[in-house]
C-alpha cells in the first residue's frame, strides 16, 4: 500500500511503501529475452545503411576522396560529403549555450581530430556501405598534430566543467603552506579515457516530409530534440525521438553527437530511412572522452595531522575548437577542512575530439589525485590514513563555509572500516603478505559527489478504472529509471506499482531533464511526485466539494490517498475509491502536472553532497607487479534510496569503474599522429569479470530534509570517487611505492620501469 498526504507535511516524512523496496527491475524480462529493443534493432521498410568514413589524420585538410570507387561498389546509393549534403539551418560550429557542443557535420574539408567524420556512405546493406567507406581512400594535406601537454600553449580557461570558475581560493595558501610543519607536493597523471558503453551510438532516422522519426540512445531527449530542430530548421514538435533503452551512456549520450546528426542528414539526403551505427573504433573520437590531466597537489599540515593548506592544480586539455575543461581540482572543494584552500585549472588545446562529461566528470579524475595526496600527507604525519581523514573532517563545506544539508560520512567511515577490519592495518607499508606470498595492502579513499538537480516535468493521470498513468520523458541507461521512477509515481498516486502504467523514453513525453549528474532520479522523481500530488489534489477537490461524497467537507482536515482510495485524515472510516469519484463526476480521467528542480533557497543555504568511504585490499605479485583488487568495501550515504537493489548495483558499477581507473583503462595515443592506437576493446582495457573482487556496498541511512522533498541524492557516479584512490593507496601500502601515473602499470609496480 502507498499513501501520500495532502496536508502540508513534507512528503519525505511520510513516504509511501513502493519507494524503499528492493524491487527487481521491471524491464528485466524484456532484457533477458532479447525483446528490449535498442536503437539499432529497428528496421523500418526501405531502410538503408550508412557508414561513416573517419579521418586518419588529426589535423589538416581532406584533399580528395575516391567517390567513383565508392559509388561503383554494388549496393552503394550515395556518398555524403561536404560538397554533397542536405542544407542545415544552423552552423554546426555555432554555440548558443554552454550545453551546446560544436559538431562535425561535414561543414568543410578541415580535419581537427583523428576519427572525425569526413564522409558518409549510404548503401543497401551494411556490408556495402562499409566497403564503400573503405574505398573512399582519402588523401590529406597533413599538418603537425598537437598531441601532448608539451605540444601546446598553456592558458587559463574562462570556466571549467559547467560554468565553474577556473580558480577558487579560500585563505592564504602560500602563507599556510609556509607555516605548515609538514608539507608534501606531488604530481599525478591521468590518461584520456573513452566512455565505451557496450552499445555504440546508433540511430535510425526516417523523414516524412518535414516530420522526423528517430530511434537513438539519448540521455537527454528534450535537448536532443531541440538540437535537431535548430540544425534542421523544423519545429521541435515535428520530431519524435524514442530512446526507451540505452545500452549504457556514462555521459557520451548526454548531448546529441555529430554521428547521430549525420544519420539524420543521410536519411534526408537519400529520402529513405537510414540506420547509422558507429563501429567500436569510431567511439574513440567524435563522441567525447574524459580529458587527460596532470594534477599537482601541495598540502601542508601540522604535526598532529591537521591540514593548514590544500592546493589542487589541474592541467587538462580540450579540443582546438570547443570548450570542455575537466574540473578535476574541484574535487578538493568539499571533503577536507583546511584554513587555506585553492583549486586551480589550466589547459591546453590539442587536436582531439572535444572531451565531455564522463561518469563523475572532474570528481573521478580529481578524486584519485586528492585521495592519493591525502594519503601521502597522512604518511608524512605518520598517521593512519583513516584517522588523518577524520582529523580533517569538514563540518562545513570547506570552499563555501556552508553547512551540509546532510552528511553521514562519519558513519560511512565507521561502518566501512568495521566491515573491512581496518583496525588490523599495520601503519608501515610492505608489512603484509598472504599465505601464497603475495604482497597485501590496504587503502582507503573518501567518496563524494554533489547532489544535483536539473529541471524536469511529468504528468500523472488517474483513470476511470482507478489505475494510474505516469508520463515522463525519462531515460533509462541501465540505472533503473523504469523501476525507480515508477515506484515514486505509484507513491505519488497512492497506488500499488502494478496499478500504475509508466511511460518514459520518448521525446513526446514531458521533458524529464537529462539523465546525468546523478540527478535524474531526484529531478524526474520530484516532477513525478509533484504531478501525482497535483492529480490527487484535483481528485480530492472533486470529492470534498461534492455533497454526495463521503469526503464532503473534509476541508482543512485534508485527505490521504492510499491504495486507490481517498480517506479523510481525521476520520479514516470515511473514504472513497478513485474510480467512484471519477464516475460520479462523469470524468474519464483526471490529470496533474508537476515539475522538479532544485530549491534555490535551500541551495543558497546548504552544501549538498552524497558521501562515502571505500576500503580496498590489493594483492600484488612482487616480482611481476601484477595487481588484483581482492576486496572492496564501500559505505555510502546518499539520502533516501528509492530502490536499494538498484542503488547497490550503481555502487558496484562505480566501484568497478574505480578499479578500472586505477589499474586498467587508458587511451594510447601515438605521439606523432595523435591517433588512438588502442581503439578497440582488447587493448583499451576495461575490467573483465575476473578482475572484480569481492565487492560489498553498505547502504548507510541518511535523512536529508533540505535536498528535495523526497530526500533523494544521486548514486550513479559517487562510487568511482574514493574507490580509485583507495586502490592506489592500497598499492602503496602493499609495496611502499607511491605510483602517481594512472593507470598503474606492471613495470611501475614491479619497480622495473625503464
Amino acid at each position: 500500500m502507498a499513501e501520500i498526504a495532502l496536508s502540508t507535511a513534507p512528503a519525505h516524512l511520510r513516504h509511501g511503501s513502493n519507494s524503499g523496496q528492493p524491487l527487481t527491475r521491471r524491464d528485466g524480462l524484456l532484457k533477458v529475452t532479447g525483446a528490449a529493443r535498442f536503437a539499432a534493432d529497428h528496421h523500418p521498410p526501405g531502410l538503408l545503411h550508412a557508414v561513416i568514413a573517419a579521418s586518419t589524420i588529426a589535423r589538416g585538410r581532406v584533399v580528395s576522396l575516391d567517390l567513383a570507387a565508392a559509388m561503383a561498389h554494388p549496393g552503394v546509393v550515395a556518398v555524403m560529403t561536404p560538397a554533397h549534403k542536405p542544407p542545415l539551418a544552423a552552423d554546426p560550429d555555432a554555440k548558443t549555450n554552454p550545453f551546446m557542443f560544436r559538431l562535425d557535420l561535414l561543414q568543410n574539408d578541415r580535419v581537427r581530430y583523428a576519427g572525425q567524420p569526413i564522409a558518409v556512405v549510404i548503401a543497401e546493406t551494411l556490408e556495402a556501405a562499409t566497403e564503400g567507406a573503405a574505398l573512399l581512400a582519402p588523401r590529406y594535406q597533413r599538418e603537425p598534430a598537437r598531441v601532448g601537454f608539451e605540444d601546446a600553449t598553456v592558458f587559463t580557461p574562462p570556466a571549467v566543467g559547467v560554468g565553474s570558475p577556473a580558480e577558487v581560493v579560500v585563505g592564504d595558501v602560500a602563507a599556510e603552506l609556509a607555516a605548515a610543519r609538514l608539507r608534501i607536493e606531488a604530481t599525478y597523471e591521468t590518461p584520456a579515457q573513452y566512455h565505451n558503453p557496450i552499445e555504440p551510438h546508433a540511430i535510425v532516422a526516417a523523414w516524412d516530409g518535414e516530420k522526423l522519426s528517430v530511434d537513438t540512445p539519448s540521455q537527454g531527449l528534450a535537448m536532443a530534440r531541440a538540437r535537431i530542430a535548430g540544425l534542421f530548421g523544423i519545429p521541435a514538435e515535428n520530431i519524435e525521438i524514442r530512446s526507451p533503452f540505452l545500452g549504457g551512456g556514462f555521459g557520451c549520450k548526454g548531448m546529441l553527437s555529430g554521428p547521430q546528426v549525420l544519420g539524420i542528414m543521410a536519411a534526408r539526403l537519400v529520402g529513405w530511412p537510414v540506420k547509422l551505427v558507429l563501429r567500436r573504433e569510431q567511439m574513440f573520437g567524435p563522441v567525447g572522452h574524459r580529458a587527460p590531466s596532470r594534477q599537482t597537489l601541495r598540502l601542508g599540515a601540522e604535526a598532529g595531522g591537521r591540514l593548514r593548506a590544500l592546493d589542487h592544480h589541474t592541467l587538462t586539455a580540450s579540443s582546438t575548437f570547443d570548450d570542455f575543461f575537466e574540473p578535476a581540482s574541484n574535487a578538493s572543494h568539499t571533503l577536507y577542512a583546511s584554513p587555506a584552500l585553492r583549486s586551480a585549472h589550466e589547459a591546453v588545446r590539442l587536436d582531439t575530439g572535444t572531451p565531455l562529461f564522463m561518469r563523475a566528470p572532474g570528481e573521478a579524475t580529481g578524486s584519485i589525485a586528492l585521495e592519493s595526496a591525502i594519503d601521502e600527507m597522512a604518511a608524512a604525519c605518520a598517521m593512519d590514513p583513516l584517522a588523518f581523514r577524520l582529523e580533517n573532517y569538514a563540518e562545513v563545506e570547506p570552499i563555501s563555509g556552508k553547512p551540509f544539508s546532510s552528511k553521514a560520512l562519519r558513519e560511512c567511515y565507521a561502518r566501512g572500516a568495521e566491515r573491512f577490519g581496518w583496525t588490523a592495518r599495520p601503519l608501515a607499508p610492505g608489512a603484509m603478505r598472504d599465505e601464497a606470498g603475495l604482497l597485501v595492502g590496504w587503502g582507503v579513499g573518501t567518496a563524494t559527489f554533489p547532489a544535483l538537480m536539473f529541471q524536469g516535468q511529468a504528468r500523472a493521470v488517474i483513470r476511470a478504472d482507478g489505475t494510474g498513468l505516469i508520463e515522463c520523458g525519462a531515460q533509462d541507461m541501465g540505472q533503473g529509471a523504469w523501476t525507480a521512477l515508477a515506484q515514486i509515481g505509484a507513491d505519488g498516486l497512492g497506488l500499488d506499482l502494478e496499478q500504475v502504467e509508466f511511460r518514459a523514453g520518448s521525446s513526446d513525453l514531458p521533458d524529464a531533464g537529462i539523465a546525468g549528474g546523478s540527478a535524474h532520479t531526484a529531478t524526474a522523481g520530484m516532477a513525478i511526485h509533484a504531478a501525482g500530488a497535483d492529480a490527487i489534489g484535483r481528485l480530492a477537490a472533486l470529492a470534498t466539494g461534492d455533497e454526495r461524497s463521503a469526503l464532503f467537507g473534509a476541508g482543512n482536515a485534508g485527505v490521504i490517498a492510499r491504495a486507490g482510495r481517498l480517506y479523510r485524515r481525521d476520520d479514516e472510516t470515511r473514504s472513497e475509491r478513485y474510480a467512484d469519484i471519477l464516475a460520479r463526476a462523469g470524468l474519464f480521467e483526471i490529470d496533474g502536472r508537476g515539475s522538479g528542480a532544485a530549491d534555490p533557497v535551500a541551495l543558497a543555504r546548504y552544501a549538498m553532497h552524497a558521501h562515502g568511504a571505500v576500503f580496498a585490499e590489493v594483492k600484488i605479485d612482487p616480482e611481476f607487479g601484477q595487481i588484483r583488487v581482492s576486496r572492496l568495501v564501500g559505505a555510502f550515504a546518499a539520502g533516501r534510496l528509492v530502490n536499494p537493489r538498484l542503488v547497490r548495483s550503481q555502487y558496484y558499477g562505480g566501484m568497478i569503474w574505480g578499479v578500472s581507473f586505477a589499474l586498467h583503462e587508458r587511451a594510447v595515443v601515438d605521439p606523432r599522429s595523435g591517433r588512438v592506437m588502442n581503439a578497440n576493446l582488447a587493448e583499451y582495457r576495461v575490467p573483465v569479470n575476473a578482475d572484480v573482487p569481492s565487492l560489498e556496498a553498505i547502504l548507510v541511512e541518511e535523512e536529508d530534509p533540505h535536498v528535495n522533498a523526497l530526500g533523494i541524492k544521486g548514486v550513479g557516479e559517487i562510487a568511482i570517487t574514493g574507490s580509485a584512490g583507495a586502490i592506489a593507496n592500497a598499492i602503496w601500502h602493499a609495496t611502499g611505492r607511491r605510483l602517481r601515473r594512472f593507470p598503474v602499470t606492471l613495470e611501475q609496480v614491479a619497480g622495473v620501469a625503464g
Binding site: T24, L29, A36, F38, A40, E199, G247, Y652, V688, N689
Partner: protein
C-alpha cells in the same frame, strides 16, 4: 549470391546472403532477431554470442556461409513456447544481473554454454574466468556471477528454478 540453409531457434531458414555477410547481420537484419547485439565488431565484447551447434561463438566473427547446415540458438530461442524462462534467464532476472541490458543476451548465451560444459559445481573464480569473453561496462559483474552460480544448480538438477 550463395544460399545458406540453417536452423535458427528450431526453425529452418534458407536465405540468400553475400559471402561477406556475418552471421550476426543475417540474424539481425534478415531474420529480425535483434536480441543478439553488436558491441565491438571485433569479437571482443561478447554482446553477439549465440550458440552454433550447441557451443557459444561470437556471431560478429562468423560468416553466415560458415553456418550453412548448422543449428543456431539465439537469446530469443531460450524460453519455452509458453514463455517459461530458461533457468539462466530466470536467474539473471531474479539476481538483478543486468543493468542497461545490452550485454545481457550475449552474457546469458555464454553463461549457458559455460554451465553446460561444467557438470561439476563451478566456484566463483571459475565462473568469473569462464565469462572472460563478455564485457559488462555498467558493470554488473558481481550480480552476474551470483546469477550463474544459482542457475548452475537448477540446470544440473540440484535446485529449483528462481521462479
Amino acid at each position: 549470391m550463395p544460399q545458406v540453409s540453417l536452423t535458427v531457434n528450431g526453425k529452418r531458414h534458407t536465405v540468400e546472403v553475400e559471402t561477406r555477410t556475418l552471421l550476426v547481420e543475417l540474424l539481425r537484419e534478415k531474420l529480425g532477431l535483434t536480441g543478439t547485439h553488436v558491441g565491438c565488431d571485433t569479437s571482443q565484447c561478447g554482446a553477439c554470442v549465440v550458440h552454433v551447434d550447441g557451443t557459444s561463438v561470437k556471431s560478429c566473427t562468423f560468416l553466415a556461409v560458415q553456418a550453412d547446415g548448422a543449428s543456431v540458438t539465439t537469446i530469443e530461442g531460450l524460453a519455452a513456447a509458453d514463455g517459461t524462462l530458461h533457468p539462466m534467464q530466470a536467474a539473471f532476472r531474479e539476481h538483478h544481473a543486468l543493468q542497461c541490458g545490452f550485454c545481457t543476451p550475449g552474457m546469458v548465451m555464454s553463461a549457458i554454454d559455460l554451465v553446460n560444459s561444467h557438470k561439476e559445481r563451478m566456484s566463483e573464480a571459475e565462473i568469473r574466468h569462464g565469462l572472460e569473453g563478455n564485457l559488462c561496462r555498467c558493470t554488473g559483474y558481481h550480480n552476474i556471477v551470483k546469477a550463474v552460480a544459482a542457475a548452475q544448480e537448477v540446470m544440473h538438477g540440484r535446485a529449483q528454478a528462481a521462479e
